[in-house]
Symmetry: C2
Subunit: 419 residues, 2 copies
């Protein structure tokens, strides 16, 4: 069998845009690690005919389909029925699943609904994949037309079942050669500029391929070795990485999956430095990003969200004179915020952000997107003015990214790229 599959997501809510489907991204990452390619992904609504058409033609193309969604207890959950009838298998009631469901509900002090009985129905001959994270079990169904794996759509359940139950079985079934890839994360340079620098090198990489993955914080570069053995793949990836670094190294902050916050924490930890934050327009996003990293508490002491001017005075000691003369969004305020929070918490380093995220509050001098960031490092303070493009949420995200980049020496670049 070829090492490729298709993914089918089921749910009218996905097409209506009520829910963003993150499962296919998770599956893509987890499957590529074992050398399985997701060739195509199809999303259809809660309709028996649509589900059958999508799964049927995906089976015809690759022979293996992972479908998610539509296994819940309500009337719009049709996947189980659609697949059983597509594969011409009867549905049997499985008492052991039912007993497990009853027990699960009892554990949470609640009584199970009769509507959950549908979740105990199993296409004859299917393998039940136990769901430790929720109620609907996964189902591994083999038939003359191929393999259909049914998984719940709730991300934590989908991800848990995929990792624990589906990947090991796929490894056995599929004759896959792992895909090896490496990600180089950049910030502060536009995708087209990277393309111009790196495009001429792509021939030298071959057979390694290069993909550009832009997001809010920067552009990730993904180098991929397809169907090569481990040793050859790593050698060729090393060579490609070296070429890339030669021309674009100054914008690369990590090789791997690490978030910029992790790189900052590691840099500070290696130097035995502690960090504090003072945030105005980002309202806690910088703290949230840093503390999303498990184990951040040995570096990060805490911070202040000084949204109102009184908070800047009371919690950070920003002077009334500074606020009146220069305003809350100014170099002076940013500097005093950084010094203030470092002083209060006794940290070695501090980051302060103050700006106008919009949509209101902009002026001719300080339009929406104007952000001052100050970095305090053992006595010295630097500050820089940025003009970020985008809506409220983009300005805030870009400010956080630039604030972090400042601690790994990329701040000038980030400022430049943000125009």
């Amino acid at each position: 069998m070829p090492a490729s599959i298709e993914h089918v997501s089921i749910g009218t809510e996905l097409l209506l845009g009520d829910t963003i489907d993150s499962n296919v991204a998770f599956a893509g990452r987890a499957l590529s690690e074992i050398g399985v390619r997701v060739e195509r992904r199809t999303t259809v609504g809660d309709s028996i005919a649509e589900i059958q058409d999508a799964i049927g033609s995906a089976l015809d193309r690759t022979g293996v389909v992972i479908a998610c969604g539509g296994l819940g207890p309500t009337n719009d959950d049709l996947t189980r029925d659609a697949v059983a009838s597509l594969l011409e298998l009867p549905l049997d009631f499985d008492d052991s699943i039912w007993q497990e469901l009853v027990g699960r509900w009892r554990k949470f002090g609640r009584e199970i609904s009769d509507s959950n009985r549908s979740q105990a129905m199993v296409p004859r001959g299917a393998t039940v994949l136990r769901n430790r994270w929720g109620s609907a079990p996964g189902l591994w169904v083999e038939s003359a037309r191929g393999i259909v794996v049914l998984l719940p759509g709730v991300p934590i359940e989908f991800e848990g079942l995929l990792r624990e139950a589906v990947i090991p079985r796929l490894r056995e079934k599929l004759d896959s050669a792992p895909i090896h890839s490496r990600r180089l994360r950049t910030t502060g340079i536009a995708e087209s500029k990277l393309g111009e620098l790196l495009g001429p090198l792509e021939e030298q990489f071959a057979p390694i391929t290069l993909a550009y993955l832009p997001d809010q914080g920067g552009v990730d570069l993904r180098l991929t070795a397809w169907q090569l053995d481990e040793e050859t793949a790593q050698l060729k990836l090393d060579a490609a990485e070296q070429l890339v670094r030669h021309v674009a190294g100054q914008w690369i902050y990590t090789s791997g999956e690490k978030d910029l916050a992790v790189v900052v924490l590691e840099t500070l930890r290696a130097n035995q430095l502690t960090l504090a934050t003072a945030e105005s327009c980002t309202g806690g996003m910088l703290g949230a990003r840093i503390t999303a990293v498990a184990g951040s508490s040995d570096v990060y002491l805490g911070g202040v969200v000084s949204y109102a001017n009184e908070a800047k005075q009371e919690l950070l000691g920003v002077s009334v004179e500074t606020l009146e003369r220069h305003g809350a969004v100014s170099e002076q305020s940013a500097r005093e915020m950084a010094l203030g929070v470092a002083g209060r918490l006794g940290s070695d380093c501090a980051i302060a952000i103050t700006g106008i995220a919009g949509p209101g509050g902009g002026t001719a001098d300080k339009p929406v997107g104007t952000v001052w960031i100050a970095w305090f490092d053992r006595g010295a303070v630097n500050a820089k003015r940025f003009g970020f493009a985008g809506d409220r949420s983009q300005v805030r995200e870009r400010a956080v990214q630039a604030a972090l980049a400042g601690f790994v020496g990329l701040v000038g670049l980030v400022g430049k790229a943000s125009g």
Copy 2:
């Protein structure tokens, strides 16, 4: 022409899981407002054959396709070529697009790359949709096989072009009757329990349909009137909403799209109350969620991220005795944090969160997921212990949701549902 379309997303990075595709959700919402249904969505990689197969069969089914991605300047951007050849149209170089690109780059103080020239190529006869948010213009291509709209994959560009250029043209072309829908947002009740309560009512709603949309914070209920005129639709939606509220009203915090943070801010604003926050394990997420709402500054004064114990003492005045005797994750600490931040900032109300988000730090008494939340309201403090399931990020998100729910009277319910 029928009021339905298909969506095709292009990019190997989407299948590999490097990027989450939020465009289809945005398109689903925007199109359903004008009565256009996205019937199906297909994602394929950067391959001419795959792009042509996906767009070709989508055209055969609905006659109208919105495709996004693959319009960038690098070698893996193939959509323009694939579609021109699928529809048998030559590609022409459009000098006015090129001049606009050159000007755009100059504005940001940079020189354009020659690789951007591909972005000025246009299938003959296509309408160019000007892109104010980025470099690649959108393209509206009509042919004997149907309409293909090409949009860039970058969300801000996709969204802007869809709203400004695509929706008005689709309105003209498609004979659509609007879909009317209404969302009732719940928190604190499981999907299956809601299904049990509401399932028996679904017949009474008809032709209104009901969808359950679970996410981290709760379950949204979506009532939809398909292809009805405005007045009939609203009457039938009113009747359905009344039935739903009759049995599930106690879990509903809003009718509409509002985030729970918006509901909290509005409640406080209506009572002329101000708010402050003190966060430990959530590290700023609560502040970030509140300040994501434009105009939150009239209610929200600011807060403290007291990650280290010293921050709890220094910035919030939590007593050493409390920390030593009860620990940082305790009712006493949560109460003192709430009182402390309200006192420092002079706010009427305050929320404090302290807990163990994991993966480390759990004990037998206080396992990972243990969170104390305290609410201060004009002199009175209430506190509650929660035991949230999930990983670090889920525990943190659930804590923020429960903290907000506490201010609209749903806190007992949230605690119960979180098990």
